[in-house]
Subunit: 757 residues, 2 copies
């Protein structure tokens, strides 16, 4: 049973995995085939042009409290303070996985650089110049990294991780260079004051680290460990990447359970109970390490890192009693939030398509676009606070007002002592602090309605136009910011009938926006719970999420699904489309079919490998090896390459039997890292060998999943998706091979235009 | 395409569902077949005997604060107070489901009867007689309900729900009579002061209500609505039952997110994203309704119902800072908790097997067993508090000490004024209050170490011997009670090195026990979070759960999996056993295969239906209908019955074609409720019709899932399990049909004893 033992690697239960992944080449070929056929579907821009929609991300931001300046006003003192802190924290890389009972280790790094240029005198325009200049420099640095080193690092990264876990392994999506740019690009981008988050990039970072471990380290960068080779199969690699994504969310929101649920609800396409346990382990370790670092940093040793403790935006101090009118207000909040969320998705889609035209012109236009958006963001955050009046400080405060320092609720800006500028408190703060200010409880009148409206409008628009430029950029923070200001705004509008705290309105507004854009339910609910620690508000948060998701689902898809589509990643949905019920498997088979005999001529194999990009070939036994032509199984390209490399050829057309396995070890057939493994060029077949024969039986998967040609396409699609296949044979005995490509709506509707609406 | 349209009900994507369920008869036949073959596996007792492992459940309990009595002590006043409140609250039935975008309604009822016989004078033995007498009467009532009306209502109900969602529809498991007994039996059982919980029964209750809706109401009890017929298919019914189970947990623990996760992690075998959304909707409605009732009841109108608010055991007042030594103590707690949890499982298994011998003797022995356990429980809770010394009340209390009334931290019992009996505070309280007392924070020395030890020992043993008697009985409460007292005990032992609050130790102890017995992770974590509202302790709770689950997994399986096995429910595991890799599909095919021709004689069909219990038959086309014998498809028993009932017979062996569908509507083939649908006896075939022919093609599923006979059994098992099949054909063209039965380890190891360890 040697054959069976070796085939166990690719066969049996592992079949699911080994057949699962599509790489970048296949994706491009697929789209070029679609366009060759002159099918007029909306093609993704990123395939036609380059594989990079580019985008940005913020951690801290630039703070500039300026207290009364030379203003043609003789009695005012002339001084300006410019203070900005670059809070560079992102790299919390964690990885973890386990196979069987082995538990693996974990790492968490972070670094925070606080750079302060403080108390130097200047005028407003100098302050602006310094502020905008720093932003532009940081933004340009992020864009340069992204444009020249790893274009794949632009954007959120969550759609890419989602695609990988669905079985699409696009080129350099999880490469070490992407990891590097994702970390540093995100630090620079967030520091540059863009309206972007660090959450998506952290999910991508976690997945990249997991991938690095999953393919046995990186030989190119001399990061290899021998024990990692046990993960060298698709299943473990996929599990690791799921754990990495969970760890990313867990670290970004300090929400370990939320991380597990995010991985379950949004990231993973296939779920097993063992995976639940592994992600839970990963996030538990993240929680312990975060907790230790927060304790270590609680004395202020690490800049802004320790702030907020494990609960980032605590609102538990607010009284969470609510009654009929409050619920009415909350339902209104949910409905409008859902509509605004779907409108947000619509514009993100449009902007991404526009930007991809700009980005394809080359690295320089990418960088110029980033600089332009950076200048616009600086103008907004520095200019808009001038529009509002100064508000006198409340008298019953425990904190100083106006605040002097890097963060705080009451920014002085241009106002005299005893007054503060509420819009400056939101704009000229880190994004985290702005959210904390919006979520702050018992501060009903802190923000004027007009200020909230201006802030909401600005962040909503900036969020839309920022996603898509060539920097790593998360979507959570912009959505939470816009949602929280929207929620507070609604709270102010309903203040006559509702007694709910404004901080809770902000939380509910954020929930409604998140539900409206991302369309998650349980994971968002738990993440918000872990962010704010208000268990009593849970029923309302659930209600808002349900309403906004339901409303938004009537208009378009979730933002990550939209981005997946724009990027041209062939994502396989869990359910079959209705029209698939009227088609059968035969209807989507597209030719020509290339098959091998059980004992095939080396030349034929080499020719097939050279002329096609197919990953699997059916093997057919013909007389004299069988009575009638019958399907023997499917052979994989990678296994064929190993076999040809081994040169176990024979002059005659005979079955060689199992002795071929004395030449190969099971490990020779193990899955190689992406971009590794034997290439066609590595083969050195001589002319006389071309006429020799090689027995394919030992490396043939003798029991591929097959369907009968008259099977309903919907049923075949469910089988394909549930088992995570890469090839599926159509009987009798072999009519064709179905791949992911054949289940894409573009392909099916192209062949059967009658179902096209 | 009429045929296809009709077949779409059973075919296409719905195939998964329609083929999924095994009923009670099949299970019994399976086990009798296994025993016929003289295979010496541990057979479940419940199949050999009756289908009832019987067990008990508690909500409130009996409270008896007695303050100083005649005790040969002349100066003490002679009086006794007996007070007991029967807190009968269980029936919170909620159900909910949605198909597509339709959202459905929900109901939540509860009732609480508080019965107080207060301040009547007697001596201790009278008090005990009254206490034990009431308990026995209530217990006997529960046992009578259970033994005579619905034996299937005994026990937790979670294993049954789990089995249903895995595809096993045992007889009367979710019947209306079971629902009735589950509700009232649980109320009576909990009131009788047994060490049982209401959580499991509430999950079962939710599932029963969902099932009632899913099969279109109950015609027998005149509860039918026409709109319910849209749920009359397996997929929707299964979704509804998942939602019902989630609602049960959500209501029992007031933990909506925990309910969703419980349904996901423990209950459901197949998961889809649509299901996540539906369960989330269900539990959101449960949360809103619970919140409304709690607000309505906050003035004490509803007995004990409103107590604790949405957070049942709030520990958030404790300071959750911890350091190295605390973590060491917690690791110790987790390891020992895991060991104790697996020992608990071991004994529950043994006790269940012993009880099933007693229970099979008939209803009377069931009731006597319940009465015996009830007396033992009364003796323990009334007798053990005498063993401990009175403790003087702390001086810095905000509550009265000793407490007078139904619940409270400080029970007087036999102690003089100013003193309290700590063990009585635990025993003579409702289970909910006992847990609340154990979780109470800043009460370090309230319970003496010896009291905790006695309580822990008593509850541990009582919990083990109570599960299995003929009353509805949940396992959560006994495990939490034992775990919390164990945790507090460990806290006291470590008090010299650890500064963690005793209430938090109790929480961590409960987590370790839950992890050790139930082996869940994320759902327990979230349920505990929602029960106690201590987000800062989350990292430690995760750590404890991980450790205790890992430790316990080395010894045995989770308690629900064990009960499933004892009950003989053929649960299909998600992963294939290792020895299955060495077998192929052909190796497990058993029995004479019964096939039909495409156009078959009525007599043959009737004979096959009468002599076998098979649910599906392969249909084979032979000459003259095809060139060679080939598999045409699979026909279901229920569809055959409908066809025979329709009497569309012909004298000659000809294909009738699609005109048969002019006689039938698609709805005729819809899945009937359990126990309904056409029976074999309903057919009235005359003698001359027996020789006539009927065309099976129109009702044949022409594209059943097939595997080649040489496919690895592990691979076939994964296919069968992932798609939730009921039949799977083995080619070429038909070697046999594989069913759930053929993938059971008992069957496989019986045919292939060489893999038997």
């Amino acid at each position: 049973m040697d054959q069976e033992n070796i085939m166990n690697n690719s066969d049996d239960v592992h079949d699911i995995e080994n057949e699962g992944l599509w790489d970048g080449k296949e994706i491009k070929r697929y789209w070029s085939e679609v366009s060759d056929k002159n099918i007029t579907y909306k093609e993704p821009f990123l395939v036609k042009r380059t594989n990079t929609t580019s985008q940005i991300a913020i951690v801290g931001a630039n703070v500039c409290p300026i207290e009364s300046l030379d203003y043609d006003d003789p009695q005012s003192q002339i001084y300006a303070e410019i203070f900005w802190s670059l809070k560079l924290k992102v790299f919390k890389g964690f990885f973890m996985s386990g196979v069987g009972e082995s538990l693996f280790n974990f790492s968490c790094h972070f670094f925070i650089i606080t750079l302060t240029l403080k108390w130097f005198q200047c005028r407003y325009y100098k302050a602006f110049a310094a502020y905008a200049g720093c932003n532009v420099v940081l933004a340009a640095a992020a864009a340069v990294l992204c444009a020249f080193i790893a274009p794949a690092a632009a954007g959120s990264g969550i759609p890419e991780v989602k695609a990988y876990l669905n079985g699409v392994d696009a080129y350099s999506m999880l490469a070490p260079s992407t990891l590097f740019v994702k970390i540093f690009g995100s630090i620079l981008g967030v520091s540059a004051g863009f309206v972007v988050g660090k959450e998506g990039p952290m999910v991508h970072t976690g997945a990249c680290i997991a991938n690095l471990l999953g393919q046995g380290g990186s030989r190119k960068y001399h990061l290899t460990w021998t024990w990692l080779r046990y993960f060298k199969n698709d299943r473990d690699r996929r599990d690791m990447i799921t754990c990495g994504a969970a760890a990313g969310v867990a670290a970004a929101f300090r929400a370990p359970v939320g991380g597990v649920l995010f991985a379950l609800e949004e990231a993973a396409s296939w779920w097993r109970s063992a995976l639940l346990w592994r992600t839970f382990f990963t996030t538990a370790v993240v929680a312990m390490v975060l907790r230790a670092f927060i304790q270590y940093c609680s004395t202020g040793k690490c800049g802004l890192f320790g702030e907020g403790g494990l609960i980032m935006y605590d609102v538990s101090s607010a009284t969470s009693t609510y009654s009929g009118p409050d619920i009415l207000a909350v339902i209104f909040l949910g409905i409008i939030g859902g509509i605004l969320g779907s409108v947000y998705n619509y514009f993100v889609d449009k902007v991404l398509r526009t930007y991809s035209i700009i980005n394809e012109r080359g690295a320089v236009s990418k960088i110029l676009l980033v600089i332009a958006i950076s200048l616009l963001t600086s103008c907004c955050s520095f200019g808009l606070p001038w529009l509002v009046k100064c508000i006198s400080c409340p008298t019953d405060l425990t904190v100083s007002c106006p605040t002097v320092g890097e963060s705080g609720n009451y920014k002085g800006f241009q106002c005299p002592t005893g007054y503060y500028n509420d819009l400056a408190s939101l704009f000229l703060n880190t994004n985290d602090d702005a959210i904390r200010n919006l979520f702050s409880t018992s501060t009903k009148n802190e923000f004027h309605i007009s200020s909230l409206f201006i802030f909401f409008g600005a962040i909503y628009c900036l969020g839309i136009i920022t996603y898509g430029i060539a920097i790593p950029a998360g979507l959570f923070i912009p959505v939470i910011l816009a949602g929280a200001s929207y929620g507070r705004l609604v709270g102010r509008l309903f203040e006559s009938i509702s007694t709910l705290d404004m901080g809770l309105y902000a939380l509910l507004g954020a929930a409604s926006f998140l539900g409206g854009t991302m369309r998650m339910t349980v994971s968002l609910c738990v993440i918000l719970l872990e962010l704010t620690n208000d268990l009593l508000l849970l029923p309302l948060v659930m209600l808002v999420l349900l309403i906004s998701k339901t409303v938004a689902d009537n208009f378009n898809k979730g933002v990550y699904d939209q981005i997946l589509k724009i990027k041209g990643l062939p994502y396989l949905d869990a359910h079959a489309e209705p029209y698939m019920r009227h088609l059968v498997a035969r209807d989507v088979v597209s030719g020509p079919l290339i098959t091998f005999s059980g004992v095939e001529k080396v030349g034929n194999i080499l020719h097939a490998l050279q002329t096609t990009g197919h990953n699997g070939f059916p093997v057919i036994d013909e007389p004299p090896f069988s009575d009638a032509p019958e399907l023997c199984g499917v052979v994989l390209r990678s296994h064929l390459l190993v076999l040809l490399k081994g040169k176990n050829f024979s002059k005659d057309r005979v079955v060689s039997g199992d002795d071929v396995f004395q030449r190969f070890a099971a490990f020779d057939f193990a899955k190689a890292g992406s971009g590794k493994g034997i290439k066609l060029d590595d083969l050195d077949i001589e002319e006389e060998e071309m006429e020799m024969y090689v027995d394919l039986h030992p490396i043939t998967n003798a029991s591929p999943y097959t369907v009968v040609e008259t099977m309903s396409l919907a049923k075949a699609a469910i089988l394909f998706r549930q088992l995570g296949l890469r090839h599926m044979c159509v009987r009798p005995p072999i009519v064709g091979i179905l791949t992911r490509h054949d289940f894409m709506p573009e392909h099916i509707l192209g062949l059967n235009p009658q179902y096209n609406e």
